[in-house]
Symmetry: C2
Subunit: 419 residues, 2 copies
């Protein structure tokens, strides 16, 4: 089965938003063993949308579209596809109910143009949208399969996982099952060098790396007839990778560092407190993304000035005067201070220079100290996170927060070892 | 002039990397007043690459391509385009020199396949690459303009700014200038309903909405010969929108709420402190995204437990006992508490139930209180942010933080009014 992705939206065409949908869907299709030959973007223009749909359906078996399912006059994706197949549009009552309910919940008046979102091509399999108003559409007509999904990734991604993948599985006898090995603290090219031969030779399961926000994920994908069978093929590959990269692996299928931290804290009945300067609350924000974080996380302090470092966290004025706010000594006192303030088992701290301003000869942009304080260990890491590019502020903050989370995992390990 | 972007690379097709090049180039072309109607991605496959180039050149005047300029056998972009126009390939000595020099600097042996990168279609204007080995190409033949650039953004972006923009300026008499009106507190369909006729009728300037993270942005785009002229056309449209949506508009061309807040605090010489429960530091994280936030923001407390609300923020035990952590009273005491703790002019607070767990009959998931305390006003908003969807935690947190930032803007207004 050959697939094509067509993303509809003038905001994509104008470059107002980056097309993450295409990459997400492409990855999922690859995991399903479906070939993808083309990705296209077209604006909310009826004629060009029609041409793009005609072209795509002339060269693919499966067309996945995103965007243009909304309530406004220029949302024309469903209508255009229905037109191509000569299908009339019909009101889908359950979807209309859902949209009405949505507006009731918001206590808002439902404007008439919202009803448009419940109109469906005749014979369409409706893809429920539990994440927004616009339902999706799956069509299997005249030898072509069309999947129409809303544009916002927050809606599109879970719909793809929950509705589209099961729908597409019917069309392939074999299934693809993946596990992701999460690596932190080693660059992608390093990982590739070490595993180069294994990756090249790997066929089933395959082993593929990809880098994301300063982390590397290794995706192990097995093609099999049952999930059991697939997992049995995946396990040895994971062991093989663990044997070479063990210390850099923070989890398998664990989603991300914050999830690994919250889970590890829960399992070990430990609590964490955070003290952040340059990351400004990013670490506590990431930890509290995880439902249930409240069990293990009670307090985070964003001490963005020296005064607050002193008055709230109890960093010594002499320390700030002698070594400065961005120093190993300040980082350690911040970690100790917030740990005491929150009566937590583990205190973690970050102080650094995220830039673009504030750097100097001795303390350049990107210089960051990450500290941890707990019964089992006290340590501070010095990091130099700048790659010398422009606009690195967010990159530096993200990497600093990831290093802090990783350091917390190391601290938790010490508790486990001492059991 | 109608443009098209064609990005070449199997890694894009597999979704291993997100296509940021298309968005970057699209934005730059829009700024140059060049219409963009299509973006496409194709893999390193000779036949499909050829078809994609043929299709693109059949419908555009300007084709911008990225990727496939490298040294390996499957880098075929230049050759494919040269072929289309029947141009022979020639060695470009200065480029060859540059590539040799590049390898010398790295102290590496230059492998012969790298010479391929210096081969250029006859009559090509070579785009120097000061950021990597592969030079770019600008062609103006048979009424078509082709721009070929390397795939890595850190090479492509500066080359586009330094080489491509000056090259393209020659071709466009008109330019497009856009302004974005930022709206908070009104849904997209509502905005669209109110401005429906204006949007439909708008031609120059055009008015187009799009929704993002619970906000609505209205983009006003004017086509003119000078920037001055364009801004003169944009201004009345902005006034027209302000006349209808005034109270919901938090800024024009201000990027986002956090930027509006930091700028407004700076202009009014005010400082802010944040106390967050369910958002877990998201507000302070957003504020500290903005360079220079340290002038106006010194302290954020993530008080995720009742103990911390009491011990750090000074919320009364009786308040927590009587009304609970998620209550108007607690929100107000949190805002007062953090304002006092940080000796800030304005204290803002958030307490709510982000879910998925923790909801009840009386206090459902999504119930959120946002409080502000300053000399000029003290108020608490009760929000019900759930739309009844799954996995709303991040949505609820984002909207709660946006409402808090918007409330801070209202507080700052009070200071301005009292001047």
């Amino acid at each position: 089965m050959n697939a094509e992705i067509l993303c509809v939206g003038t905001e994509l065409l104008l470059g107002d938003i980056v097309n993450t949908n295409a990459a997400y869907i492409a990855k999922e299709l690859a995991a399903l063993g479906i070939n993808l030959y083309h990705q296209s973007v077209v604006g909310d223009n009826p004629q060009r949308l029609k041409e793009a749909v005609n072209l795509a359906l002339s060269r693919c078996d499966l067309l996945v579209m995103t965007g243009g399912l909304g309530p406004t006059y220029d949302d024309l994706t469903k209508e255009t596809v229905a037109n191509y197949f000569g299908l009339p549009m019909q009101m889908h009552e359950p979807s209309l109910e859902r949209i009405r309910f949505f507006f009731q919940k918001l206590g808002r008046e439902m404007t008439p143009n919202n009803e448009k979102q419940a109109m469906m091509p005749k014979g369409a399999h409706v893809l429920t949208n539990n994440y927004g108003t616009a339902p999706g559409v799956a069509l299997d007509v005249q030898g072509k399969i069309c999947i129409l999904l809303p544009g916002p990734p927050r809606e599109m991604q879970p719909m793809f996982r929950e509705e589209v993948i099961p729908f597409l599985r019917r069309y392939s006898k074999e299934m693809f099952v993946s596990s992701t090995i999460h690596i932190f603290g080693m660059g992608e090219s390093n990982v590739e060098q070490i595993l180069h031969d294994t990756m090249l030779k790997s066929e089933n399961p395959t082993l593929a790396p990809y880098a994301k926000d300063g982390e590397v994920q290794l995706r192990v994908t097995a093609r099999a007839h049952t999930e059991q069978e697939a997992h049995a093929m995946i396990a040895p590959m994971i062991q093989k990778v663990q044997a070479v990269l063990g210390e850099y692996i923070y989890g398998v299928d664990i989603q991300n560092l914050q999830n690994a931290v919250v889970k590890a804290l829960q399992q070990n009945h430990l609590t964490l407190a955070t003290a952040e300067s340059c990351t400004g609350g990013l670490v506590s924000k990431r930890i509290t993304e995880i439902p249930g974080a409240s069990e293990v996380f009670h307090c985070g302090v964003c001490s963005y000035s020296n005064d607050i470092k002193e008055s709230v966290l109890g960093v010594k004025a002499s320390t700030l005067a002698e070594f400065g706010a961005v120093s190993s000594q300040t980082a350690l006192e911040m970690a100790r201070g917030v740990r005491a303030l929150a009566k937590a088992d583990i205190g973690v701290s970050i102080t650094g220079i995220a830039g673009p301003d504030g750097g100097s000869e001795q303390k350049p942009v990107g210089l960051t100290y990450v500290g941890v304080s707990c019964e089992k260990m006290e340590t501070v890491l010095e990091l130099r996170l700048s790659r010398g590019h422009k606009n690195e502020r967010e990159y530096i903050r993200t990497l600093a927060s990831s290093n802090a989370l990783n350091l917390v995992l190391k601290a938790i390990q010490k508790y486990q070892e001492s059991k």
